[in-house]
């Protein structure tokens, strides 16, 4: 390698299908498929961060070989569209010509996501000596009701383009989609495979780490190799000998504790400061409203409050989340939530 890659996560990310750590059965199944040169629509399900997307991408590149540039596309279903993309989708809407019924005269749009990001790709014919194109859709379950649009797409363009859908759980996916896909339950790598990989990296980077410590690392990162490598790199800044304490110390650095600070401010009743902080968080992290409320919910669990207090807080967050579905101004809903928490905190004391 001519240039050193400074980020370990990138340096040690698998470059080919074979490089993928562990998951021998899944790899065997997929290798079988590559040999057969054919597969139905696939659905990869598994917890967050364990490598579903990487596996899907490397598998597809292996399958398509030299033609993978033109015939492979990876789209993220949970990314909000930019304003240009939204106006493009809107401009392609048409007005229903039916005269009766609820559709009369209404503007009909295809879900913007499908219109802008998916449709053009699946419609064009595959190029080169490949049986079909491959579309990988990550976080498919976040589409919600728009999954229906996909169902038609999968039928109509199925011969031209196969889809690999990636999701965290099957419960978020509608039945018609489930029935059209072959299911792959992706699991995190086994502890031994994980330990082998980490040992390999540590040797390369001059770190000293025992297998026991790697077991803790496995638990902290929940089987996500990328997160484990990140933590390892952070630790390596200070020292070469990685112990359990050092892992914990650096874990705190890595975690985003802004949300926790926000809640602490509210519980002290400092509304103006809390609002400033929430706006700063929003500016830097660009959380969607749902993400923001989910993060708040998670933090509530960790707070040292009585059960009763936690329930009141969760109710407040739930209300804010519900209102923000229809509401136009998220800042107002968040401010309302913060104000309510500030007020509730007076009752707790």
């Amino acid at each position: 390698m001519a240039k050193t890659i400074p980020i370990w996560r990138i340096k040690y990310s698998p470059k080919t299908f074979e490089d993928i750590c562990g998951r021998k059965e899944i790899k065997a199944r997929l290798r079988n498929i590559i040999e057969q040169r054919n597969f139905p629509h696939l659905l990869f399900v598994g917890p967050e961060g364990i490598g579903k997307t990487t596996i899907a991408r490397l598998f597809a590149e292996e399958f398509l070989g030299e033609y993978s540039d033109a015939n492979l596309k990876l789209v993220y279903a949970d990314i909000p569209l930019t304003s240009e993309e939204m106006s493009l989708a809107r401009s392609q809407a048409h007005v229903s010509t039916s005269r009766l019924g609820s559709l009369a005269g209404k503007t009909i749009t295809m879900p913007a996501f499908i219109q802008v990001k998916v449709k053009s790709f699946v419609q064009l014919k595959a190029l080169g000596n490949v049986p079909f194109k491959i579309l990988i859709v990550k976080n498919f379950e976040t589409l919600g009701a728009n999954q229906q649009g996909f169902r038609r797409l999968m039928e109509t363009y199925g011969t031209n383009c196969r889809m690999i859908l990636i999701s965290k759980k099957t419960s978020g996916i509608i039945d018609p989609i489930l029935s059209r896909c072959q299911l792959f339950l992706i699991s995190p790598p086994k502890l031994e495979d994980f330990q082998d990989e980490i040992l390999k990296i540590s040797k390369n980077e001059g770190l000293i780490i025992k297998r026991d410590v790697i077991r803790l690392l496995y638990k902290i990162s929940r089987g996500s190799i990328a997160k484990a490598i990140d933590l390892l790199q952070l630790c390596s800044i200070e020292t070469n000998e990685i112990t359990e304490d050092i892992l914990y110390d650096n874990l705190i650095v890595m975690q985003n504790d802004l949300i926790r600070s926000l809640l602490m401010m509210c519980l002290k009743g400092l509304f103006p400061k809390a609002r400033e902080l929430s706006r700063k968080i929003q500016k830097n992290y660009k959380f969607s409203p749902q993400q923001f409320f989910t993060l708040l919910m998670k933090e509530i669990e960790k707070l040292p409050l009585s059960k009763h207090a936690k329930i009141l807080l969760m109710e407040a967050i739930g209300d804010a989340d519900l209102r923000s579905i229809d509401g136009k101004d998220i800042d107002i809903q968040v401010s309302a939530l913060l104000a309510r928490i500030c007020y509730l905190s007076e009752l707790f004391r």
């Binding site: 909000p80 939204m86 209102r323 229809d326 509401g327 107002i332 309302a336 104000a339 905190s345």
Partner: protein
């Protein structure tokens, strides 16, 4: 019957014509428009004859020898009148049509809600020629597109191609009216001539009013009151006549100056003092309603002002929580109104964000003193908005490592920042690897 309709001039000779400019030069509005319409029909006739011959030629010749049909120059097909409301743009078109014994096909902003509707409405008029005209034995028509700056689709440019196509193929002259320059209509401005129509002079208006009053047999209307009304309406003849009619009808002979003040249409309440009054003075729902009624500010910004300034006025968490409860429900209602188009719910929206919020302080002493009013901040989170520096950093990362934009912003960049700050060597390696420029580097510092 409204006086505005009753006394609408039936002929150009009756009208006090407003002054007008075309390309910076003063023109005689009546003459220009008359010439435009007559020229149009001559030109149209000529082109139709030529196109007929071309069609015959095309039928009898091979594919390679096909000729294109001739199109009329857009500036001969359409013309735009731009001027403040109530100055006479629509009236002049009707008067002109009457003089030339033509009909007017009118369409305006309130008619058209979708591109399809715009096309449907105008389709038959632009395309009808030949036998339909003969059967219906119609007179010639002038197409009037009124309030073109308000037509649905102007802001997202859906209407513009429709209008351009209309101009290219129309069989009748098109006169468009607008109140103000609209950037999204620039493609149309580029094609046709625009006439700027100025408001009538004070003397002209008085003459017209006096003429109407004479015909209506009203003799006891004070000169001073007429002056007041003319002043308040800024040259908008339509609203002046409406006001005068309002005063003269349904009231006894006491023409109160205070009453005139109430008719004043555009009392713009300064937004700052409105917010202050809302928090400091308002003590009842009725007062809150009056306050918001008087305001000119768009309601969907007004409640953002309330949001921004609430904490300045309410210091106790109890007041804040209660006020925000109402404000957040108001926001939800507003969102539902926009989705369902049930605009009748708007009154609840107002009552909640103005009344509900201001009345939280009902039983406490109103706060005196001066509080600086802050401007509302606009944040949209349903659209992913990255600054250009953020976007270019994200792209550079994406080139080297596959992640979604959101994952990069929320997880990868914070991690990268920690690494960047850890040592000079690491910072340099990161810059080299991702090929970062100065503005992107700053995001990591």
């Amino acid at each position: 019957m409204p006086w505005v309709e009753k006394y609408r001039p039936k002929s150009l000779s009756e009208m006090a014509l407003p002054t007008a400019k075309l390309k910076g030069h003063k023109i005689d509005l009546a003459q220009t428009l008359r010439d435009f319409v007559i020229e149009f029909f001559k030109e149209r006739e000529k082109i139709n004859v030529q196109n007929k011959e071309i069609r015959i030629h095309n039928k009898n010749s091979t594919k390679s020898k096909q000729k294109n049909e001739i199109k009329m120059l857009p500036e001969k097909a359409a013309i735009l009148l731009e001027g403040p409301p109530g100055v006479g743009k629509t009236s002049i078109v009707y008067a002109l049509a009457n003089d030339l014994k033509m009909d007017v096909i009118e369409t305006n902003a309130s008619d058209i809600r979708t591109k399809q509707a715009l096309e449907d409405k105008l389709n038959e008029t632009i395309k009808s020629r030949g036998i339909m005209d003969f059967i219906l034995n119609t007179r010639k028509k002038i197409i009037l597109i009124d309030e073109i700056d308000g037509i649905y689709g102007v802001s997202d440019k859906g209407a513009v191609p429709t209008i351009v196509r209309l101009i290219e193929t129309t069989q009748f002259p098109i006169i468009m009216c607008a109140n103000e320059y609209k950037q999204s209509l620039q493609p149309i401005y580029n094609l046709i001539n625009k006439i700027e129509v100025n408001p009538l002079s004070h003397e002209e208006i008085i003459k017209i009013i006096k003429r109407i009053l004479k015909k209506e047999n009203i003799t006891n209307l004070n000169e001073k009151i007429i002056e007041l009304i003319i002043q308040k309406n800024h040259g908008d003849l339509r609203s002046i006549i409406n006001d005068i009619q309002g005063i003269c009808q349904g009231l006894d002979n006491n023409f109160d100056v205070d009453l005139i003040e109430q008719l004043h249409r555009d009392s713009t309440e300064d937004i700052f003092s409105l917010i202050r009054d809302l928090f400091q003075k308002v003590t009842s729902l009725r007062e809150a309603r009056e306050l918001t009624n008087k305001s000119d500010v768009d309601y969907n910004f007004l409640y953002k002002w309330v949001n921004e300034n609430l904490p300045s006025f309410y210091k106790s968490n109890e007041e804040l929580a209660k006020a925000y409860e109402y404000l957040s429900i108001a926001d939800e209602i507003y969102g539902r109104i926009r989705k369902t188009q049930f605009w009748s719910l708007l009154s609840y929206f107002y009552d909640l964000f103005a009344g509900g919020v201001s009345l939280v302080k009902k039983y406490k002493k109103p706060r005196g003193g001066f509080y600086p009013i802050k401007f509302p901040r606009f944040t949209a989170t349903t659209i992913l908005r990255l600054s250009s520096n953020e976007a270019s950093l994200v792209n550079k990362i994406k080139e080297k490592y596959e992640l979604s934009e959101v994952e990069i912003v929320q997880e990868f960049i914070p991690f990268l920042r920690i690494l960047y700050r850890s040592s000079r060597k690491m910072a340099k390696e990161i810059i080299d690897f991702f090929e970062l420029e100065a503005n992107e580097k700053n995001l990591l510092k």
